[in-house]
C-alpha cells in the first residue's frame, strides 16, 4: 500500500543505507589486501537483503561497513542519509543502540547474563528504566518463543535458542535495520530455517530492514534482493523473483514467494538498474 502511494521524494527517504564507492584496504605486514574495491549500493527501508559470496569475497567487510562496525578506508556510508564517518563516539553509540540491531554467527550473547538481561541490555544503554526494559524484554522473548526461558544463561540454551535471544536483543530498541552476519552459520538445517523464518517475520511485522551476510542458500528465498559479491566487488544484484525460477523448486519455500509478490516492486526494478549501472 505504501508502494503505490509513494512519490519520488518519498522513495529517496526510503533508502535507509547507501554506500558510495566504499573501499577497504587491510595491511597484512607489507602486503595490502583490497577487501572492498569500491562498492556503491542502496538499501531500501523494509527490504530483506542478503549479501552472498564465497569466503574472502568481502561480504563480511561490506556488512561491517554498512553496520557502522568498521570504518572504510575511503568512500562513504550513509545511514538514513547521515555520513557515518562524520559521527562522534556518542552519536555512533546512539546509532548502534537504536538504529541498528546486530545478530552474529556466534550469537555473542553476554555469557554472564540471563536471556532477559541480554535482551534488556541495549534498553539499559538507551536509558530505559529497569521495569520498562523488563516488560519490553519479556514481550520480545515471547515473540521469539522463549518467554519461559527468560532466566536461563546462554550456556543453558541451545544454539537456536541463543540465536532467538540474539534476535530479540537486536529488536530491543525497535531498530530500523537488523544486521545479521551468517545468522545460520552455526546452526543445523532445521534450526537455521526457523531463524530465517523468524527474521522474515520481523521483517514483515515490524518493517525492519534486514541485511544479512551469508552463504546459506536457504536465505535466498526469504530475501527480497540478493547482492552477489566476488573479490571485493559487486558481481550482480538480483531480485528474488528472478532467482525463484532457478532455485525455487529446490527450496520449495512457497511462503517467501507469496510474501514478495504482495509487495510493490515497481521502484525496486528502477533501483536495481541504477545499482547495476553504478557497478559498471
Amino acid at each position: 500500500m505504501a508502494g503505490t502511494a509513494t512519490t519520488e521524494t518519498e522513495i529517496a527517504q526510503q533508502v535507509v543505507v547507501r554506500t558510495k564507492d566504499v573501499k577497504k584496504v587491510y595491511k597484512m605486514g607489507k602486503v595490502e589486501v583490497h577487501a572492498l574495491k569500491g562498492i556503491t549500493v542502496e538499501i531500501e527501508a523494509g527490504e530483506y537483503i542478503s549479501i552472498m559470496g564465497p569466503s574472502g569475497s568481502g561480504k563480511t567487510t561490506l556488512f561491517n561497513m554498512v553496520g557502522a562496525l568498521d570504518k572504510p578506508t575511503s568512500g562513504q556510508v550513509y545511514i538514513d542519509e547521515v555520513d557515518v564517518a562524520q559521527l562522534d563516539a556518542y552519536e555512533l553509540a546512539w546509532l548502534r543502540c537504536r538504529k541498528i540491531g546486530y545478530i552474529f554467527q556466534t550469537f555473542n550473547l553476554i555469557p554472564v547474563m540471563s536471556a532477559l538481561e541480554n535482551v534488556t541490555l541495549p534498553m539499559t544503554f538507551a536509558g530505559l528504566t529497569t521495569d520498562e526494559a523488563r516488560n519490553k524484554g519479556m514481550d520480545l522473548l515471547d515473540q521469539v518463543g522463549l518467554a519461559d526461558r527468560y532466566d536461563h544463561k546462554p550456556f543453558e540454551l541451545s544454539g537456536g535458542q541463543q540465536q532467538r535471544v540474539a534476535i530479540a536483543r537486536a529488536m530491543a530498541n525497535s531498530p530500523s535495520i537488523i544486521l545479521a552476519d551468517e545468522p545460520t552459520g552455526n546452526l543445523d538445517l532445521a534450526t537455521g530455517k526457523e531463524i530465517i523464518q523468524l527474521l522474515g517475520e520481523m521483517n514483515r511485522k515490524e518493517h525492519v530492514t534486514i541485511i544479512t551476510a551469508t552463504h546459506d542458500i536457504k536465505m535466498l528465498s526469504a530475501s527480497d534482493r540478493i547482492v552477489w559479491m566476488r573479490d571485493g566487488a559487486l558481481a550482480k544484484i538480483e531480485r528474488r523473483e528472478n532467482l525463484d525460477i532457478q532455485i525455487g523448486s529446490i527450496e520449495g519455500d512457497a511462503e517467501g514467494g507469496v510474501e514478495a509478490s504482495l509487495r510493490g516492486t515497481g521502484e525496486r526494478e528502477k533501483e536495481e538498474s541504477t545499482d547495476e549501472s553504478a557497478e559498471q
Partner: protein, 467 residues
Amino acid sequence: MQDDTTRRQQKIGKQIVLPLSKAFEIAWKGIKIRLWRSVITMSGIVLAIAFLMSVWTSSVFDRSLRSVEPSDELYGLVQDVLEAEAIASGRQRIQCAIVEQERAATSVEHVTPGMRIRHFLDGEEAFRSLPVPADADAIAETLEGENPPHVMLLAGFPDVVSVEPVPRLIGDFVRGGGLLVAYGAEGLQDRPAPEQMPLARLLPASPGSGSFSAEGADIEPGQEFAQVLWQNHPGAAFLETSGKPKARALASSGGRPLGWMWQVGDGTVAWYAVDASSAQDVDVISWLLRGQTTQAAGEKERETTGLLVRLIARAVGKKVETGDMRGTWLVTLSLLVCVVGISNAMLMSVTERFREIGTMKCLGALDMFVVKLFLIESSLQGVVGSVAGALIGFSLSFVRALFTFHVKDVQTGEGFWLSLRYFPAATLLGWVGVALGTGIVLSVIAAIYPAIRAARMEPVQAMRAEA
C-alpha cells in the same frame, strides 16, 4: 507503516551517559556469576600482596626484635676481641674454652650465645673451640689441666661461675695472663643487681657498693670510661670498686649492668652487657678500648687496641649496611613480582573478554562505560584480593616470627614469646595500609590499559580478537 516512517525520520542523537550505579550493577553481576574466574584473577593479587606483606612483616619483626635478642653487634664485638687477641698474641692456634649453661633449644632457629661463637671459632683457622660443660669440676679440670686454654668464654653468663672454686680458678686464670670474655645480654634485665652478680665475686674481697661521683673518684686510670658511661647513661649508678686490683669501672642502669672492665695483672677481664640497639653503647665500647690505648705502654698493645677500634667500626658499620641492602633488595623484588603478577592477571581477564566488549559496543555501550565496567571490577577484585593477601602474608610471617623469637630464660626455664610481648602494632598497621594501597592501585592501573585499548577498538576488531 506510519511509525515506520517516523522512526526513519528520527535524527541521530547522542548516546546518554549511564550513571555509575548502572556500571556497578552490571560489574557486580559479572563478578558474582564469573566467581571462579574472579577468584583466579584475585589469587594473582592475593599471592603478590601476600608475598609483599610477608616480606614487610618479617623485616618489621626482625628489626624491632633484634635488639631484644642478643644482637649481632654483640657477637661481632666478641669476635673482634678474639681476633685482636689472636693478632696480639702471635700464637698459631688459640684455644678457646666455652662455658655455657645448658639450655633447651626452643626452636630450630634458636641459636644460643655459645653456639654462635663456636660457629665463628670453628670457621677460623686461628682458633680452636673447646666446649666445657657448665660444671665446676669440668671447669677445674680444664683450667688446671696440662694444656690450659688461652681464652675463656662465659657464654650467656652461666650460673656456675659463682660456685667455688670456679671464681678462684678464673681469677688465677686471668692473673696468669688468660683472656676472659663474658658476654650475652639475654635475660639480663631480670637478673639481680650487680652486687649479687656472680661475676662480681670473681674479684677478691668485694667491699660492697656505694655511690660514685666523678669528683671523688679513685677509679683513675679508668676515668674516661666512667665519664662516657655517665654521659650516655645519666641514670646509671656507679658502684665503687676501690680495693680491687686496677678495677676501672662498674656501672648499672635500672638494675642492668652496663659494663665492667678490669686490668688484672697482664690479663684483662672484660664483660660487656651491651644494649646493642643503642649506638651509644657501641660508643662506650669503642671508648673503653681507646682508653686502653692511651694507657698502654708498649707498642704492641697500642697496635692491638687500635686494630680493635677499627674492627668494631667495621663490624658495626657493615652490619647496618648489609642489613638495609638486603631488605631493600627483597622489598624491591617483591614489589616487582607484585606488579607483574597483578598486571598479568588483569590483562588476562580483560583480553579474554574482548568479544564481550565488542558486543557491548554493538549494543550501544560508550567507550567510557566499558572502561568503567572494568575499572569497577578490577578495583573490587583489588580490594578483596589485597585484604586477603595482606592477611595471609602477615599471618605466615607472624607465625615465623613467633617461633624465631621465642626464647627461654636460662635460670627459670620460662619461655617468652617475644613477638607477642613486643608486638609492633603501629608499624605493622602502617605496612598493611601500604600493602592494601599497592594492591588496589596496581590492579586498577593494570586494568586501565587493556580496558581502554579494548574500548577504543572498532567493535569488529574487538570481536575478531579471539580469546
